[in-house]
Amino acid sequence: MIRMNISIKNLKDIVDMLGTVVTEAKFKIGINGISVNAVDPAHVAMVSLEVPKSILSEYDVDSEEEISLDLEKVKSIIKLSSSNDSLTITKDKDKLKFEIGTIIKSISLLDNDQITTPRVPQVASDDYAVMPKSEFEKGLRAAEDVSDAIRLTLTADNFSAKSTSDADESEMILPKDLLKELVCNGAIKSSYPLEYLLKLVKSISSNEDIKISFKSDYPLNIEFSLGSGTSERIKGRFLLAPRMES
């Protein structure tokens, strides 16, 4: 059996974040919380979320189970509620029942076999920078009308993001003192598709910090937190394939 109570803020953050890469997703409902991995159809970007049990005011799950959902349907339920609400979710055979105040809505679950389970690449890098999401976003916005790719560079002194086209150029440089943390053992640089990053940052609250790590010509790994919560938060990870220019 599955029964839980989740705040609208948390549910909305989860659905919006997954929505940056997919329209349907498969959730693993575990004893200690929920996890989900989703990769976009081109296999360029992947979102992984861990929702700890502690942020749910009620969480009653006897055994681990997978459920697949059409995110658009969940979004339409979220639209029925206000941001301070919370809702109770119960699994009832092949349906998922949502109760918000006076409203009860059931949506049918998707066939788990129809939703592919993404294979998660094992990527790790020792070099990283932690920065306010809002700073990173500024650099992306500046690049938006220049190119569809952005080149990230990390050195021992700064983090920079640069886009060039035949005509124009855009660069953001964040010196060490504007970064919350910086670990870099040698300069690294790699290019990434801009449109995915823009979608990602839109789905992270503006007062959050993000941790960016990568290597040269290697996937970008962005770690962030979502939703409300004091001690524990929803942990998110975004992987993005590098743009090979040659």
Partner: protein, 410 residues
């Protein structure tokens, strides 16, 4: 014309007589030459015929240019001559014959005359937009010049002469165009999209645009035919691109193949955000590759955010883009589009960009082969291409892009 450019063993023609295409060309040069001769030797300067209706706008002397209403020297239902949906199935021979029989009468205009057209120009505007053929009596200053239009960016047309006098019989203006014509506040871009949504063909939309029949009254201009065709293809496909960006992506690789008239059209639709490329490989002896011994590949592309410059490859870029955006729109899906074309020896006459547009449309009417990764899709394509698939992949921008994915790091 034909004799200078093509060397055909003479014994072939006797066996073939224009029916078997033994020479390997996609049309019969003897038939076409005879047809052209007939048009060249069109007696006198007095023609009576049914205009489909047809119109050409030249670009020489811009902004003082020639506007040419056109008609074949006979009466009847000639609408097929301007109906692009019929051209592919007509066969290249019949198509060229029909189009070259359109005799053009010229009047001189300034492009700005469209803001306030005089009676003569207005009559050309209205008759050229008639929904049915219009009977025309035309007397020209001289007999017709040998200046036929055979051009990559316009549709073929017959020779021309300056108009001395022209009389139109009854015409009925297409009511879709009529609305646009009398709307002095509707921008030309929006007018084109309205007409397209109302089912009007690109050929007719571009014709209406070229004769200055749409747009905000004080901005109206007469536009050379070749520019008006590309403007219509570009503007309408831009509009569809904006729309399909909101659709979810396909999740497999679709491959479409069309082999026709010494042309191989290849369409690969791939998962991901909108992106487009159009590549052409002209083999030696084809229209745009007379002089080298090897094939020449030309390729242009755009990323998710579009292009900022005009593609070197020309108007066919936007014609092919229209074809593929229509497909995505019909599927209510988005994705990356790779369109390649190989043109083999035997195809050596420019027919206009409609040939690309409508072949791409036909290409996407077929059922695709589906694959779960790009490598398998390319392996399938390699069965059809004469050019090594790695050669295409090396030239391609989108293939590199598609291969930049997380699977590489698994």
């Amino acid at each position: 014309m034909a004799r200078q450019l093509i060397k055909i063993p003479p014994e072939l023609c006797i066996k073939c007589r224009g029916s078997k295409m033994l020479c390997g060309l996609t049309y019969c040069p003897v038939n076409i030459t005879n047809k052209i001769k007939k048009v060249y030797s069109f007696p006198g300067n007095n023609i009576s015929g049914s205009s489909p209706p047809s119109l050409f706008v030249g670009k020489y002397g811009y902004p003082k240019i020639g506007v040419y209403p056109a008609l074949p020297p006979f009466k009847g239902d000639t609408s097929y001559m301007e109906d692009e949906t019929k051209w592919l199935s007509m066969g290249i021979n019949d198509f060229i014959e029909a189009r070259l029989s359109l005799l053009r009468g010229k009047i001189n205009v300034n492009i700005n005359d469209a803001k306030n057209p005089d009676y003569k120009l207005q009559e050309i505007q209205l008759t050229s937009l008639s929904e049915k053929p219009v009977d025309i009596e035309m007397i020209t200053e001289k007999s017709f010049n040998k200046n036929i239009i055979i051009d990559e960016n316009s549709t073929p047309m017959g020779p021309s002469s300056s108009i001395k006098n022209i009389k139109y019989d009854n015409y009925k203006i297409d009511n879709r165009i009529e609305k646009v014509y009398y709307d002095n506040d509707l921008k030309a871009d929006n007018a084109m999209i309205n007409l397209y949504k109302n089912g009007m063909s690109i050929n007719n939309i571009s014709k209406a645009l070229s004769i200055g029949s749409m747009g905000i009254k004080n901005n109206r201009k007469i536009v050379p035919t070749r520019w008006s065709i590309t403007a219509a293809d570009k503007n309408i496909s831009d509009n569809i691109v904006d729309k399909i960006k909101d659709f979810s992506s396909i999740d497999e690789y679709y491959v479409y193949i069309r082999n026709i008239n010494k042309n191989l059209f290849i369409g690969i639709l791939a998962p991901g955000n909108w992106m487009f490329e159009w590549g052409e490989a002209w083999f030696p002896g084809t229209t745009w590759n007379y002089f080298s011994n090897d094939y020449q590949i030309e390729l242009d592309y755009e990323n998710y955010y579009g292009r900022k410059t005009y593609p070197d490859i020309g108007g066919c870029y936007y014609s092919s883009r229209l074809g593929v955006t229509e497909k995505f729109n019909e599927m209510k899906k988005s994705g990356k589009a790779i369109l390649w074309r190989e043109i083999y020896n035997g195809f050596n006459i420019p027919l206009g960009v409609w040939y690309v547009r409508d072949n791409i449309r036909e290409l996407f009417k077929a059922k695709p082969e589906k694959f779960d990764n790009i490598d398998n899709a390319l392996k399938y394509v390699s069965k059809f291409t004469k050019i090594n698939i790695n050669e295409w992949a090396k030239k391609s921008y989108n293939i590199k892009n598609i291969k930049s994915n997380l699977d590489v790091f698994l």
